[in-house]
Assembly symmetry: D2
Homo-oligomer: 293 residues x 4
């Protein structure tokens, strides 16, 4: 565990993930001022007002989903939503790091306009790969809940073989699903072969659809369009893990009677504690690198 003694950070908003993160930061020696989180204990200073929370800190940690379209802080515990404004953020020392999972454009622009140092955690390869573990399990859990058959012996297709696709395809194969990976990059197809998976180029996708129980999409592009969906048996389940709006033509799926589920943000939903531990593994190093001493 990296020692954070002497560091003072604010954590505002969030859910069970941030609870785990705050406890870890405090254990590591940081002083953690919080707003809107049910935490307490040594090194933790819960604040009732956002301004107080930011007073004297060296860095701000926002929740993984950041803010909604109204610039309101994502929060599982606050009764009244908090709007994130320039005045509020300006309480931070200039150049301070502001950590967030993903930032929509308005938040990014706001943070940068004030001269703060925005860090989007989900863009870090390390975080994205670690998050692929709860994402993959969450996807499998959804398939288990929605299918009348076991994963074992089922015919599964995984579209895309990036960070989430790799973890998911290996998990399905380990559970003895007949797993086919569909990807475009020859190097990714070669990696799938090395892992013992059946690998197929996207050009061949149409030939794989007549006998499939479940399709998992990880590609953030319209890959499951109507032309593809008409080839899929109506009993097939589609689980789309790509960030909203996903890669599935959901309207066509419904029309064709194919059950399709958009499932973004699984880590925080199915395994908040694991998701919090992933933050707790990465955030200390980033704070030590970015906070000016």
């Amino acid at each position: 565990m990296q020692k954070l003694t002497g560091l003072i950070v604010a954590v505002m908003g969030g859910d069970a993930r941030e609870v785990t993160l705050v406890e870890h930061l405090a254990d590591a020696g940081a002083t953690v001022k919080t707003f809107g989180l049910p935490v307490s204990g040594g090194n933790i200073i819960p604040c009732r007002e956002p301004e107080k929370c930011l007073a004297g800190v060296q860095a701000l940690i926002l929740p993984v989903p950041g803010v909604n379209q109204y610039m309101q802080l994502h929060s599982a515990y606050l009764e009244r939503p908090l709007k994130v404004t320039g005045e509020l953020l300006a309480l931070l020392p200039s150049g301070s790091p502001v950590l967030v999972g993903m930032a929509r454009k308005p938040l990014r622009e706001l943070v940068e306009s004030i001269g703060l140092d925005l860090v989007e955690l989900m863009k870090l390869d390390e975080v994205a790969i670690l998050n692929s573990i709860p994402s993959a399990e969450g996807a499998v859990q959804m398939a288990m809940e929605s299918m009348p058959i076991t994963i074992h012996g089922s015919k599964a297709i995984v579209l895309g073989f990036g960070r989430t696709g790799q973890t998911l395809a290996q998990l399905l194969s380990a559970m003895h699903a007949q797993t086919t990976v569909v990807a475009r990059d020859p190097a990714q197809l070669a990696r799938a072969v090395a892992m013992g998976l059946k690998a197929v180029h996207f050009n061949e996708l149409m030939n794989c659809l007549s006998d499939v129980d479940v399709i998992f999409n990880t590609v953030p592009a319209p890959v499951l369009d109507k032309d593809v969906l008409v080839k899929v048996p109506s009993t097939t389940l589609i689980i789309d893990l790509a960030s909203a709006p996903g890669g599935t033509d959901f309207a066509s799926a419904e029309e064709l009677g194919v059950k399709a589920i958009l499932a973004p943000g699984l880590p925080g939903k199915v395994a908040p504690k694991t998701a919090g531990r992933i933050l707790a593994q990465v955030v200390p190093r980033i704070l030590l690198q970015r906070v000016k001493h």
Copy 2:
């Protein structure tokens, strides 16, 4: 697929599993008379009265759970429960096979007193092993739904290394849980080692409990008694797969604040179609062996 042409069998009561079974038997060429099942099609003769269903058949297939304590047929579809009586069963030719998953004592005695040939499918090693697949997945699904962490990286204990224990421990290990098998038989412990699992004798159980996220019990004996439960962290989840009443002292668990779930009969609940296919794989061979020609 084994041909069943010429065979006439009755299937009474049941749930989605029996639907799958009936369709398979009819596909294989048998004439299937049904009572209380939403099926139809070639070779299938739905009957409104149980007596008509039994007329002229060579074998009777009862649902997996058989009858309840009032001798009422297990059924997911019948509006009024049907009591299974000696008069009804006596409509079958003497010596006919009567297939059922598990028979409570009264049903077993009734069937045998009439001179019919009772076959309890769940007692067959083959069926029990195949059913261990949906049981293991169902147990994992329950753990996923109840835990705030992923299976990946979790610390899991599997008590018992028989038919279900083997399948479950291998599944957990394949999903990268840190899996410890606890068993008594040196040969079973050796098999666990050969499978790459950590294996511990039951005598050492007490030393494994201080840091465990989930315990799965498959032993039909009181192994998780109060003495054991007091050693378990209160955040630990217990899933008991042993047939009722399980191997857990549930009252003590509740008292100690340890969440414990009794989860019998998982195959029919979490993967009815797979459970039906398992029946469909085994039943034809048994019919061909047992029906007198």
Copy 3:
């Protein structure tokens, strides 16, 4: 580690396995008198004469292969072979345990005629299962050495799904060979399915032979006879792990140009230290149970 303090045992003959065993027994506190082994150290008393070695001991451990057809002790280190006679064994106290891997009939009869307690270690399920690990690896190593292709992607058949067959088939599958298990017992076939392996009844063997790279036999019966061998491509490799004379018609194989290797006793050959550790895990418990106090 089980304490053996106070125990006095003789270990006569043997190879690297017995070296590992002797060291372990001495570490556990036993006094170990040895004949024909390059060992020394605390608690170990090397003896130049077999009679001295047996004086005052409570148990005798013979090498895994026991004696040859001339009753000569198996030994990797003795310059002159030692014949095991009744007079020699009679130096042991009546009823003393005599441990050996496998005993041919003459040895068994001799030991029992003197009133000693013969224990054949390889007949213990636990030992046979643990030994299946080096057997399986040794078989894979032989296949690697003899084939111009990788195990990954190769088409492999495993005949028999007992103790060695299970370990070997799981190893091949883990290495991403396309593995087919051929067995007769429905429960064994079900177990293979649960492990995610392709399982085929022996009746169907003939249909699996046209496209196979390597066949591993574990069945101690003539399963690979001429009728089967004529169906096998001449490039196929056969590795027969069944105890001599194996299950292959080697003459026919040679005639047909199919390379077939009989490979008994792999653990001592490919991984003598692991094989010794397996003995070291089992022997202490047996000594504690069998030696009279």
Copy 4:
């Protein structure tokens, strides 16, 4: 299989890999002129002189290792070595593709100076990943041959988690070695964790060395220097897969009594047919892309 009808290519020198490649290209419809290879059959034109071999072709395929330091063609079959010269290569049409596994600097400069299109196959991610399969198996085979213990249960370290490291670490783990990955890049460490492997930063390497049976190095830099080697038990085996001169201080290893083996070019040695098939999978696409029509 991609159709190569109409294409005329030369394959000069090589070993069993090129035999497999030539057969595949001819099967796909190409006319293949060969020099120094024991092949024949439809579409294959063996030539006795290198000049005749090059006449009229559109592309040249050299052996995987290319030429040695004297510019002599690598060949397993030629009695007299062939020197590759500018005059010879100039027989090819300007701009023709020249495929080779790896080109030393002189060959690269020669080919480019004549205006030919050099393609180094081993630099393609796809080829390197596919070759990691036989490399990893070859490394495991060497470990099996050199160690008195099984891979199962052994303590293994894999240095580097690139293309070969990933495949090798997954193979070892699948064989139930206790596998530790040592790498530097946080994203690679995260991927190792996602694969269920123990992952350690290079900074922590020194703490992992006291109890290890085998170390596989894949890093082409001096990572196993004297400071590291003194910490390693003398029974440890080192297998260095990095391209020559490897990453091990072999002199120090010998001095310290640690067995260390440099093992480059494993695919062609342990599984030439698999290595040939990998070429056969990649070369047709490259020919179709690069040959001018």
